[in-house]
């Protein structure tokens, strides 16, 4: 599948800050990709907002194990 989707979310992030954070993590951000990464990060903030709209706070998160194991 192709995961590259665009929400058209307006970036509220500063691409220089994103580059600085990435550098702290040891990631090499190509200069002309910083804007894309910043826009994608803004998309993910929108995703978080969608999830926050649901009442998930007291839900124990799911695990990696199989349905069979989880149903035991």
């Amino acid at each position: 599948m192709s995961y590259g989707r665009a929400r058209g979310a307006e970036s509220k992030f500063d691409s220089q800050l994103v580059q600085a954070l990435a550098a702290q993590l040891g990631l090499q951000i190509h200069p002309d990709e910083a804007e894309l990464l910043t826009a994608l990060l803004a998309n993910q903030r929108a995703a978080q907002a969608t999830l926050d709209a649901s009442d998930l706070q007291d839900i124990v998160p799911d695990t990696l194990f199989s349905l069979e194991a989880r149903d035991d």
Binding site: L41, Q44, A47
Partner: protein, 472 residues
């Protein structure tokens, strides 16, 4: 005599079992089809001609001595390039993995080989089954359009008749989407049914491996050959593998099928696909199935939850490689992997919480309405030219085509329930589409039964792309 490649996997299995053809003839027929079609469709990253011919001769000798290991013995199969094949390149469509040759088979490949299947080649995939770059593969149904991914080469190989069946992997729709676009049957079985050991992960919590074929029976045969418990895989289930073909002809009378309309039949659903899937529902009703309308508002969380899990788990697997070989990644893949590292752990956990909420809501819907399956379109749109994938949809609906393509498929990966795409129409523009069945955990047999009841009364699966008639 009909060219052997025109027969389905099940048909050539029967012919082989009856001694009417040889495995060598099948492999040679596939290799001829590859010679004819590959310059145009580019399904294969690596064709394993010498290995396949040698394996076919060995299979013929073994079968001549009276030993047929399984219905797949002697049958050539394509394998997606992110699935390990011992002694053969497994490059995941990436320069990062260029030249990589694993020294063991993925569990599913080992099972197929143990049953006598022959690997004819490794099929193209998006980079690490993840990237937004597109391999060169083109579907004969629409040579100028995107052929679906990430199991793009597997879909193209089967629809081009250069493979009788192929393995794909599916983290958010990567088997079902190319199956729908290429007029094929594609199954993502229950999480844990087919081991993911030896498959380069996209996201462990969501990854599945499964078969792509021309017919329902082909698919059932291939799934049976690759399923089963793997002790080296903590996600692998201990469930016994049934004979998926045993109940294929049982029909749908008395079965209960759920329909959720707010999400799956939303305003973004293409009108031709809507009409086609409504006709499928009408057919099943006439055949005695009962349809029950259900509500699942939790579906609205599924895209954000899945995408977040993919980003975070994917970045975890690539953590070392992205630092050592950043320049070898396609820029779009690199951006997604780097993005995953910039997300807070709390967002990943929220996504896993949402996953649990959705899975439990779906299981509850199945239990409360006593459902045998759910039915909806596999994709809300048909495919478009490559350069329009990320553009706004031409019909004015507020989304990109690529954003819409997986709108209907993500949820089954989150839930871990089996889901399959079945061909059910071709648009006026000549583009195939399918419907999706989702079933109870480890009940793939019922999905095959329902799918076969439709296939038996229709001929979509026998339709051939016009490009095939033009010379290959």
């Amino acid at each position: 005599m009909t060219e052997l490649c025109e027969h389905s996997l099940g048909e050539v299995s029967d012919l082989l079992g009856a001694g009417e053809i040889s495995s060598l003839e099948l492999v040679e027929a596939n290799l001829r089809a590859i010679d004819r079609s590959e310059p145009l469709v580019h399904a294969y990253a690596h064709v394993l001609a010498d290995e396949a011919l040698a394996a076919a001769r060995a299979a013929d000798a073994e079968m001549a001595a009276g030993g047929r290991r399984s219905p797949l013995h002697g049958l050539p199969i394509g394998v997606k390039d992110n699935i390990y094949t011992q002694g053969s390149p497994s490059e995941c469509g990436s320069r990062v993995m260029a030249g990589f040759v694993p020294d063991f088979d993925a569990s599913c490949v080992a099972r197929l080989r143990a049953g006598g299947a022959i690997i004819i080649g490794k099929t193209h995939c998006h980079e690490f089954a993840y990237g937004v770059n597109s391999p060169p593969s083109r579907s004969p149904w629409a040579l100028d359009r995107y052929a679906g991914g990430s199991s793009i080469g597997s879909g193209v190989a089967v629809t081009s008749r250069s493979s009788f069946g192929a393995l794909g992997s599916d983290t958010g729709g990567s088997i079902r989407v190319p199956a729908s676009i290429n007029n094929l049957v594609g199954m993502k079985a229950t999480y844990g049914r087919v081991s993911i050991h030896g498959v380069v992960p996209v996201a462990w919590a969501l990854d599945h491996v499964g078969p792509m074929t021309r017919t329902v029976r082909d698919n059932a045969l291939l799934l049976a050959g690759m399923a089963g418990h793997e002790t080296r895989d903590p996600t692998s289930a201990r469930q016994p593998v049934p004979d998926f073909c045993a109940g294929l002809e049982a029909g749908v009378k008395g079965l209960r099928i759920g329909i959720e309309r707010n999400y799956f039949f939303y305003a973004g659903l293409d009108a031709e696909i809507r009409a086609g899937v409504e006709a499928v529902i009408a057919h099943y009703q006439k055949a005695g199935a009962q349809f029950i309308e259900i509500s699942l508002p939790e579906l609205d969380m599924t895209q954000d939850a899945l995408f977040t899990i993919v980003l975070c788990e994917g970045s975890s697997w690539h953590r070392k490689l992205i630092r050592q070989h950043a320049d070898k990644y396609d820029p779009a893949t690199r951006a997604m992997i780097q993005l995953g590292e910039l997300l807070p752990a709390t967002q990943y956990i929220a996504a896993q919480q949402a996953r649990r909420v959705y899975r439990e809501a779906l299981l509850r819907a199945f239990a409360d309405a006593k459902l045998d399956a759910m039915l909806n379109p596999t994709m809300p749109v048909t495919t478009v030219p490559q350069d329009q994938l990320n553009a706004p949809r031409a019909d004015g609906f507020a989304d990109t085509t690529v954003g819409s393509m997986c709108h209907h498929t993500f949820n089954a990966n989150l839930a871990g329930l089996p889901a399959m795409s079945v061909p059910c129409g071709i648009t006026a523009a000549g583009l195939p589409y399918g419907f999706q069945l989702t079933g109870r955990a480890f009940d793939e047999a019922t999905l095959y039964r329902i799918a076969r009841a439709y296939e038996r009364d229709h001929d979509w699966h026998t339709r051939r792309a016009e490009a095939l008639a033009g010379g290959f």
